[in-house]
């Protein structure tokens, strides 16, 4: 038979032991969850990014291998786009302005999913309305198809009344690091400050 004091001591140590256990178990779970949700382990379940060769608005060739060493962003769109594409290009122009000198540590790419209409000449004119550092890219149907496949981007033509067409397409921006590895996306609805914070993290490599 233990004394009251000894019994209390045992209870206290049991309590402390279970508290420690709780911290270890739940803390571990929490940390695991955090890594799962936000850590790098969660990202590459699907491979996003890969080889491509396209033509920029000056007529020069650009391949994925030319992009090594600097993080970059990729957005798929087309110039016959009423809202999402001009808005995104304008928002990225604003972001580059806000980044100041750090903007030079980032490449911003716009890949046309409508190469029949978006020739390098058309792109060259269109891109004049945005930050001159944004690279507009186009190519043959096959070249653009290959780039889209690499990024798992989706698009389709939608016929309009008189034989013309418009397009549905992936509207997210893909963020890639200096080794060409996928880091994350920026959604179309994202606010300017959230977009800027993501780009700053991409540049800092954190």
């Amino acid at each position: 038979m233990m004394t009251m004091a000894a019994e209390a001591k045992v209870w206290r140590s049991r309590l402390i032991a279970s508290a420690i256990l709780a911290v270890v178990v739940f803390g571990g779970l929490g940390a695991g969850l955090a890594v799962g949700l936000f850590g790098p382990a969660a990202q590459p379940t699907v491979q996003i990014g890969g080889p491509f060769t396209l033509t920029d608005q000056t007529g020069a060739k650009l391949s994925d291998t030319d992009l090594r060493g600097k993080p970059f962003t990729v957005f798929f769109g087309f110039t016959h786009c009423p809202e999402v594409c001009p808005t995104t290009l304008w928002e990225m122009s604003e972001a580059l302005k806000a980044l100041g000198p750090d903007a030079d540590r980032l490449r911003v790419l716009f890949i046309s999913v409508d190469p029949t209409r978006d020739t390098p000449e058309v792109l060259s004119r269109y891109m004049q309305s945005f930050d001159p550092r944004i690279v507009g890219l186009t190519g043959t149907e096959q070249e653009v198809e290959a780039a889209g496949k690499a990024y798992r981007a989706y698009w389709e033509k939608v016929p309009t009344a008189d034989g013309d067409y418009t397009m549905n397409h992936t509207a997210s921006i893909f963020m890639m690091d200096g080794t060409g590895r996928f880091v994350g996306t920026i959604a179309y609805e994202e606010q300017a400050d959230a977009r800027l914070a993501k780009l700053k993290r991409l540049i800092a490599g954190t």
Binding site: H80, C81, E83, T87, E91, A161, D162, T185, E189
Partner: protein, 185 residues
């Protein structure tokens, strides 16, 4: 340089009528009044309205287009003050070869989809329908010229019951918003 600006400010503030307003409160009052006046003026510029029968058309607006662009989007708010539903069946714009009304959405996987609205946009009795970024838009296609910021253009809206009406679309900057909602997404 800076001192010359300060000198200029001092001269300005000592010039009639400011010179009469010695107290800080009076000066603040003048500034506040001027700002209110400017604000009120800009509101009336933005909030232009048109009326076709029971349909009120509030603030038709568009965005400047990038260089060489062949399409532009138009937005507006439709209010039905009547006791019967109506439909916006067609739109035309002086800038475009062809104009349609489209519905746009971005789905969960980040894909933007856009499709023509079949049979026009319904405006229920007593109801309001907004054509705004991220939802319905008027799609001006085959642009004859670029749309420039600050250069309004004319258009015609046709309703099933209320008939046709000429309106004017205000033009904001490329990424510009309607004036009251901050994200033009």
């Amino acid at each position: 340089m800076r001192s010359s600006i300060r000198d200029a400010a001092r001269v300005a503030i000592n010039t009639y009528p400011f010179s009469r307003l010695r107290s800080f409160g009076e000066r603040i009052g003048i500034v506040a009044f001027t700002m209110m006046l400017l604000f009120a003026m800009s509101q009336s510029l933005w909030a232009h309205e048109f009326k076709a029968g029971d349909i009120e058309i509030v603030h038709p607006w568009s965005r400047a287009t990038p260089d060489g662009a062949k399409v532009a989007a138009g937005y507006l708010t439709l209010k039905n003050d009547g006791s019967e539903g109506d439909r916006l069946v067609s739109v035309s714009g002086e800038i475009a070869g062809k104009t349609e009304v489209h519905e746009m959405a971005v789905d969960a996987s980040g894909v933007m989809t856009m499709r023509p609205v079949e049979g026009g946009v319904e405006i229920p009795a007593g109801g309001t329908v907004e054509l705004k970024p991220g939802g319905f838009h008027i799609m001006f296609m085959g642009l004859r010229q670029g749309v420039k910021e600050g250069e309004a253009f004319k258009g015609t809206l046709t309703f099933e019951k209320a008939g046709s009406i000429d309106v004017e679309f205000d033009v904001q900057a490329i990424g510009g918003a309607a004036g009251h909602d901050d994200h033009g997404g």
